[in-house]
Amino acid sequence: MTYTAPVKDIAFVLKHVIGLSEIAELEGFEEATPDLVEAILEESARFTGDVLAPLNRTGDLQGSQWKEGEVSTPEGWKDAYKQFVDNGWGSLAFPPAFGGQGLPMTVAAAVQEMWHSANMSFGLCPLLTQGAVDAIEHHASEELQQRYLPKMVEGTWSGTMNLTEPQAGSDLAAVRSTAVPQGDHYLVSGQKIYITYGDHDLTENIIHLVLARLPDAPPGVKGISLFIVPKFLVNDDGSLGERNDVKCVSLEHKLGIHASPTCVMSYGDDGGAKGYLVGKEHHGLVYMFTMMNQARHAVGVEGYGIAERAYQQALAYARDRKQGKTLLGKNEDDQAIINHPDVRRILMTMKSTIAAMRGLGLECASAFDRARRQTDKTVSERMQRRGELLTPLVKGWSTEVGVDLCSLGMQVHGGMGYIEETGAAQYFRDARITPIYEGTTAIQANDLIGRKFARDGGQGMSELISDMRATLGELANLDNADMQAIAERLDAAIEAAEKANSWLLEQSEATPAAATSVEFLMMHGYLAGGWMLARSAQAALELNQAPDADSAWLDARVTLARYYAERMLPLVESASTIITGSAATTVALDPDQL
């Protein structure tokens, strides 16, 4: 099954909903004009469709292979990665000082969606490199930056994030890996698990970022430091030196993303891997958190990226497969299953929700771009709050819903969907990791409630709700039945969400909030998605006034938004009821009663 990037949909959101031209007016983003961004999207669509997408299925079948400490990627991956680097895709949003193109995160997110739709296992390699580059760029010394960043930005070296250990998963306070000072470097020892692209044959070198403790470190989270540990040591002239004391000891056998090597890494089996401290001692976790938003956002993009691929396959199948007499078919020749109302329901749910998630993902990225480049401090701080508030929604909601949509995509195929050769099952298997890694949904929900909602007394949230109400006011003033219908549902949803917000702020105990936190996250995800689609509908209505408007396409934006308002936004109301009425029962049984 091929993949055709939805360039028109993405460009529409960027240009008419997010306000790309405003971002292009910010200092440093002057290049990102709508016409240039469209040219980038077009070429990215070609590259991902022609080069990355065809390797998705073979990558799944072959998987990455481990042999005597070295990992090899599936057939064709090296060549595809070389083209990826040669064409400069990895460097899109990186700083020009190190050879990057310096484009906004918003544009990067739009392009990265295509990587993950085309081939999520492939997209993970540059995604991890991005995280490592961010950490080094923001926290490492100038010397370390000069030594590592140019090649990483270019993509000839990749990066990894080594956090997890067998006893330290979601709780990083339990990290046990050690780092002992030794002259100008440290000797790092310990075992790390779940290291994505921890070893592979795509790049000349791999730069591991590793969390470890110094001998005198205080216990818990305040005693963790961050180190650069390269696979091959880098000489002063930039050439590669000897092999460092780090190796991949095995690959995990996983449900999906088979081509993405998930490594068990062993550091210091022969005395200690040479590592270089990033920033200050004991500050490792703080550094990790500053880049966490970006990494979590990127995984949220995976969530809707893979759902888009599942949608394209389900749509193609629904148009082709004939089964039974349909209610919506116009004549005998028009009897594909797409004309069964329930298949329409699935496709509408997929298409509208993907548009909502994409809108929110790009809105969140654009908030970070504005926060970074806005000169007005009040606006900049407001945008930073917005970006941080939306991040757990993009990550938690888009990945949970992404899995559900991939499951719906299988459903369209009936029994065929359950058969591996059809290909629909792969998206479902691949998507299933996204609500788990980079912080599970529960972790995102805690982040949303604790750090993003309650900590500032709900300020960021009230700003968001007040922006939603502003949209609502605009919709209500439009003399248009669709807009009125959307406004009515959005209004009810906002009210329900506010009820849950107040209830949560009133809780003096932590347990009721924790017991309903995931519901709270999903509620705000569905609501924010509905807001994005309401804005899309508004923009589409306005564009439709032009004499040469693409009416059928724009009308569809409005109908999709209305469908979502009618069919998805009520979930906000039910979530609100659940949040305010189920916390006590959720934890009422003792463990031995379960």
Partner: protein, 249 residues
């Protein structure tokens, strides 16, 4: 040596062409348009010739509406040095296009003009040949391989009978066939640089070229739908039907 390469903005090859309701032509409003695929091959060949050191400059030329600038930008992103758009909202016939190219050939004096063998919209396959006749430049059409040999070119042509090798003198006109090369993807930094490369827009009236045509489109229709086939019971019946019904033998 300069190379002029022609790039035409056409209905994207993935889009199903639909006849306009008034049958005056194909519906082009709000559909995806891209560079003619044979022209992509032409651009790629021009760039390879330049990269091999046999040319100094590649000029991408389009003739069409203002939006054709996007097509030229695509060629610039692939690596062409500058662009020229001769702007017109008229649907010009190959003869007028050839005349306009002749105008540019006189102005720019290229050593080589590389065109696609035909455009996928009207499949005329005439411009290169006409341009050769008008300018006196040699022509090597349907090229599947181009090699430099001093001040000559050795060109392999795809003809009905197979492959034909010819040698032509420069300046010359090449029209690209499908197997000449595989066009590159534009690199991200080059897409960004393309925006800053010079792109000259010349209104067609300023060229002084007579682009009037003796042809007019009367009506455009969908091709007739294919009818279902039949299964014959014997060879004899097949021959009988071919002879008497299809009248092909």
């Amino acid at each position: 040596m300069k190379i002029i390469v022609g790039v035409k903005r056409v209905l994207d090859y993935n889009v199903k062409a639909r006849v306009k309701a008034d049958k005056s032509g194909i519906e082009l409003a709000n559909v995806k348009m891209s560079m003619n695929p044979f022209d992509e091959i032409a651009v790629e060949e021009a760039l390879r010739i330049k990269e091999a050191g046999n040319a100094d400059e590649v000029i991408a030329v389009s003739i069409g509406p203002s939006q054709s600038q996007e097509t030229i930008r695509t060629a610039l992103a692939m690596g062409a040095d500058r662009g020229i758009l001769i702007e017109t909202d008229e649907q010009l016939q190959p003869l007028a296009i050839a005349k306009l190219f002749k105008h540019l050939v006189e102005k720019e004096e290229p050593g080589l003009v590389v065109l696609g063998k035909q455009a996928i919209d009207d499949d005329s396959n005439q411009t290169g040949q006409m341009l050769s006749a008008m300018t006196g430049m040699s022509q090597a059409t349907f090229a599947s391989k181009v090699e430099f040999d001093g001040d000559h070119l050795k060109v392999t042509r795809e003809v009905d009978a197979g492959l034909e090798s010819i040698k032509v003198s420069l300046p010359s006109i090449i029209t690209a066939d499908l197997r000449l090369n595989e066009p590159r993807y534009a690199k991200l930094p080059n897409i960004m640089k393309a925006k800053k490369k010079p792109l000259e827009v010349i209104p067609v009236a300023d060229t002084g070229v007579d682009v009037s045509s003796g042809l007019s489109v009367v009506e455009v229709n969908e091709p007739p739908k294919r009818e279902a086939g039949i299964i014959v019971n014997s060879v004899a019946e097949l021959v009988e039907k071919l002879r008497n019904e299809a009248k092909v033998i």
